[in-house]
Amino acid sequence: MSVLSFRLKGPLTGRIDASPLLPHRLAELSLAEIAGLPLRLGRGHVAVGDVFDLSGSPGDTVELEGDGRLDFVGAGLAGGTIRVAGPVGHRAGTGMSGGSLLVEGSAGLAAGASMRGGELIVRGDAGSELGGALPGERAGMTGGRILVHGACGDRAGARMRRGLIAVGGDAGAYAALHMTAGSLVIGGRPGVFTGHGMRNGTILFRGEIDPLPGFADCGLNRLPFLSLLDNHLSGLNEAPPTCRGLTGQVRRWLGDRGFGGRGEILACL
C-alpha cells in the first residue's frame, strides 16, 4: 500500500480549499506534478508545493497534517483513504460517495454534508450541520456513515435521508431537523428541539427528555432492532464507546406530528 504524505511547511496565511487532494485524483500523477497543482487560497491560488512538503508515493492513501484552515478536505471522495493528523476546517467530506476519511482532531462546519457513501470518522468534535444539507438543498446525507467521538454542533443530520450518524458526545439544537429517514445515535445528551420537523427515521440516545409538543408518547417498549444496531456498531472500528449498549427498555415518541411525521425518538432507560 502506497502512502502519500502532505506536511505543512508553515502556518497558513488563509483558508485553503483542499478538495483536489483526493487519492484517486492524485494516484496517476508524479510528485512533481502534484506539487504544481493549484489550490485555492482565499481569493487567489497557491501551488500544493508552496504549502506542503510531499513525501511517499501516490496511491490509495493520503496523509495530511491537519489545520483548522484546511477546508473541503476529502470533499467528493469516491474511494481510498485520507487520514488527517490534527483538525480540519469546514465541509470536510462533503458529497463523499465512498472511501474513508479519518480526522484525528476536530472538524468544522458541515462535515459530511450531502454525503452519499463511505465513512467519515472524527475523533474530536464536529461543528454544526454535521451530515446535514448544503445550503438550499432538499436532501442532506443520503448514505454512508459518520462516527464522531466528541460532541457536535446544531442541526446534525438535517434533512437526512439514509445512513448512520453516531455522535459520542452531546448534540446541539435541532438534531435531525426535517429528517426523512436514517439513524442518528447520540451517546451524550441531545439538545433542544431535537427532531423538529422529522418525517421518518430514528433518533436514539440515553435518558428521558421532554420532547417537542409534536411528538406523541408511545410508552415503554422493548425493540429487538436495538440489539441488531448495537451489534452493527460493535463491528465497526471506530464506533464511539458511549454509543454502545443502547439496548433494553426505551421510551418511544412518534413525530413530528406537526409535519405529519412518523419518525421516532427513542430514549434508552
Partner: protein, 562 residues
C-alpha cells in the same frame, strides 16, 4: 475627450437602417464614444483596426431578459447547486461570480458583452421592487440596461378603474410610476389575473370579470395601452397575455390583438401564448394563426420566447400559471409568493426535454413563429431568459434561423410525433444577416425608442460588434472578433478584455403631479413605504459612479416614427 478618431477599416457594415444589401464595405470612425462622420483629411486618426471584410453590426439589444430584481434573486437562492457547479473566481479583470441560467449580476454583464450584446432590458420590475432592481442592475457591468414597470394587477389601478377613473387619471398614474421607478416602459402580466389568483381564481379570460373588482382584463389592457400612447412613451405596452401555457390560449392571444384595435403594443414571449387544442393530445401548434394575426396588424410587435432544450428555471410574475405548473418542477422545488400586494412571483425550475411531446412542440412553435412572421422589424429574438433557456443560447438560436439544414437536423432528433406533424420541416425560409441585424438590433431599438442605438449612422453610440463571417453561424455569433462599447474595445474573440459601465435607460413623460394627492394616502394606508421614500432619485443611480442615465425622447405628433 480625445481629438483622435478610431478607424475600423474595411468591414462589411451590416446596418439595415441604411441599406439591406447584406453588408457594404465601408470604414467606420469612432470618436468620443460615438460613431463619427468621415472626418476631414487633416483629422488625427489614432488607432486603426483592419477588419479585412469582417461583418460589422451595431451592438445587439435584448428586449426581454430577466436579469435583475426580486424574482431573479429568488431563482438564484432556489438553485444553489447551479451556482456551486458554475462558479468563477476573480482574474484581475472580472469579479467572481456564478450561475448558468441565473447568472450573478457581474457574470450577466460579462457574458452579454462577450456575445456582442450591449443592452438588455429587465421586463418585470414590480414598482415595489424597483429600488432593489436598480441596485442589482448597478452591478451589471458594460451593458446598458432598463426596466419595464409591471402594472395591471396593482390594487391602486384596479380600484381606481373599478371606481370609474378617467383615462387622464390613469395616464398620470402611469407616468408617475415611470418617473418614480426609473422605468423605460410598462409591462402588464396576465392583466387582472395575478390579482384574481389571490381571490382563488385559477384562470381568467379576456372578458371575464375580476372576482373582486368586477373589471375585465380587456379594460385593463386597453386602458394601459391607451395611456402609453397618450403619453407618447416610445415603447408601447409590453403585454404578457392571459392564460400563459394553457392549450387553446391562442384564442385569448388573438382576442388581445383584436381588443387593442390598432393601438401599438408589444406581445412578449409569444411562443407560450400560441397553443391550440387539436390532435390526440389536445395540444397543438397555433403558430400559423398567431403569425397571421401579427402579420395583419402592423401595430403589434412581438418577441418569441423560444425554448432551448436543457435545464433552466421559469421565473414569472404570473403566479397563476406558475402555481399551475409547480407540479412539473424539476428538480422538485418551487416558490410562489406575493410581493407587497403589488403583483406576484413564481419560480419553477424546469428541464425542457427534446423527446417529450410537449417540450418538442413548444420548440417547434417558437421556430414556426420566427419563420412565419414576415416582418423582422416586429419580431425580436428572445428566449425570455431564463424561462425558455439562458440568453447564452442566442447564437444557437440564430443558427437555427439562418441554416435550414441544421434546423431540419435538429427537428429529426426531437419527439417523432412532433417532427411528423410539424410544418417546421416544410418552411424554407432562412434568415439573412440583415434580418438578424434587424431582429436583434434595429428592431428592438426602434420599438424602444432608442434613437442612437441599434444602428451605425454618425451620431449613434459607438456600440459596435465585428464578426468573422463563418459558415457556422452559432460559432460566429458566440464569439465576435471585436466588441466595442461606447467606442472602447471590451471583448476580443469572445473573451472579455476590458470592463466598464453602461447607462440606465429611462423615459419621462409629462404628467399632472396632482395625482400624488390621491397616491399619498394610498401609500400611507396600504404600502410599506411612504410616497416620498418610494420614488427613486436620480442620485441613487448616478452616485455609484456606474454609468449614467439616458432619457429616451417622448414621441410627439410631428414625430410619430423615426
Amino acid at each position: 475627450m480625445s481629438d483622435a478618431y478610431t478607424l475600423l477599416r474595411g468591414g462589411r457594415v451590416c446596418d439595415p437602417t441604411e441599406s439591406t444589401d447584406g453588408g457594404r464595405l465601408r470604414d467606420l470612425y469612432l470618436k468620443d464614444g460615438r460613431i463619427a462622420a468621415t472626418p476631414p483629411q487633416e483629422a488625427r486618426i489614432g488607432e486603426v483596426i483592419d477588419l479585412e471584410g469582417r461583418i460589422v453590426m451595431a451592438g445587439a439589444i435584448d428586449i426581454h431578459s430577466h436579469i435583475g430584481g426580486g424574482k431573479v434573486n429568488l431563482a438564484r437562492l432556489l438553485l444553489p447547486e447551479e451556482h456551486r457547479e458554475h462558479a468563477s473566481g476573480p482574474d484581475g479583470l472580472r469579479r467572481s461570480g456564478s450561475g448558468l441560467f441565473t447568472p450573478s449580476s457581474f457574470v450577466t454583464g460579462y457574458r452579454y458583452a462577450e456575445m456582442g450584446y450591449t443592452a438588455a432590458f429587465e421586463p418585470a420590475m414590480l414598482p415595489s421592487n424597483a429600488r432593489h432592481t436598480h441596485l442589482e442592475l448597478a452591478d451589471i457591468p458594460i451593458i446598458d440596461k432598463g426596466c419595464y414597470a409591471v402594472l395591471g394587477n396593482d390594487d391602486f389601478l384596479l380600484e381606481r378603474l373599478a371606481a370609474g377613473a378617467t383615462q387622464s387619471e390613469v395616464n398620470d398614474y402611469v407616468a408617475w410610476i415611470l418617473h418614480a421607478t426609473q422605468a423605460v416602459g410598462v409591462k402588464v402580466v396576465n392583466p387582472g389575473g395575478i390579482s384574481a389568483f389571490k381571490f382563488n381564481q385559477r384562470r381568467l379570460d379576456l372578458d371575464e370579470a375580476h372576482p373582486h373588482y368586477g373589471i375585465t382584463p380587456r379594460r385593463i389592457l386597453t386602458t394601459l395601452a391607451t395611456s402609453l400612447s397618450d403619453l407618447g412613451v416610445p415603447h408601447p405596452l409590453h403585454i404578457h397575455c392571459n392564460n400563459l401555457g394553457i392549450p387553446g390560449n391562442e384564442a385569448v392571444t388573438r382576442e388581445t390583438i383584436a381588443a387593442l384595435d390598432g393601438l401599438p403594443a408589444h406581445l412578449t414571449h409569444l411562443q407560450f401564448h400560441s397553443y391550440g387544442t387539436e390532435g390526440d393530445r389536445r395540444f397543438s401548434s397555433a403558430a400559423a394563426e398567431i403569425a397571421e394575426a401579427v402579420n395583419r396588424n402592423p401595430n403589434i410587435s412581438v418577441d418569441v420566447g423560444q425554448i432551448i432544450f436543457g435545464q433552466t428555471i421559469t421565473a414569472s410574475a404570473d403566479i397563476m400559471s406558475q402555481f399551475r405548473n409547480s407540479g412539473l418542477a424539476s428538480p422538485r422545488k418551487w416558490v410562489c409568493t406575493d410581493i407587497e400586494c403589488d403583483g406576484g412571483c413564481g419560480l419553477v425550475p424546469f428541464r425542457y426535454r427534446d423527446k417529450a411531446f410537449v417540450n418538442a412542440l413548444q420548440w417547434a412553435i417558437g421556430l414556426e413563429l420566427f419563420l412565419l412572421i414576415e416582418d423582422p422589424w416586429r419580431a425580436y429574438l428572445t428566449t425570455d431568459h431564463p424561462n425558455g433557456g439562458p440568453f447564452t443560447s442566442y447564437p444557437h438560436l440564430i443558427r437555427l434561423l439562418m441554416d435550414r439544414s441544421f434546423r431540419n437536423e435538429q427537428l429529426a432528433r426531437i419527439n417523432p410525433d412532433v417532427a411528423a406533424h410539424s410544418r417546421l420541416g416544410s418552411i424554407e425560409r432562412e434568415y439573412t444577416l440583415d434580418e438578424i441585424a434587424i431582429m436583434t438590433r434595429a428592431g428592438p431599438a426602434r420599438v424602444l425608442g432608442l434613437r442612437d442605438r441599434g444602428h451605425l449612422r454618425p451620431g449613434a453610440v459607438a456600440d459596435v460588434v465585428v464578426y468573422d463571417d463563418l459558415p457556422d453561424r452559432e460559432a460566429m455569433f458566440a464569439a465576435p472578433a471585436w466588441v466595442f462599447k461606447n467606442g472602447r474595445p471590451v471583448a476580443r474573440n469572445g473573451e472579455l478584455t476590458a470592463t466598464g459601465w453602461g447607462d440606465t435607460i429611462v423615459v419621462r413623460p409629462d404628467f399632472d403631479p396632482a395625482i400624488e394627492r390621491r397616491l399619498k394616502p394610498w401609500f400611507e394606508d396600504h404600502q410599506t413605504v411612504r410616497l416620498g421614500n418610494f420614488r427613486i432619485a436620480d442620485g441613487e443611480i448616478l452616485d455609484h459612479g456606474r454609468g449614467g442615465l439616458s432619457i429616451v425622447p417622448i414621441l410627439t405628433a410631428s414625430d410619430p416614427c423615426f
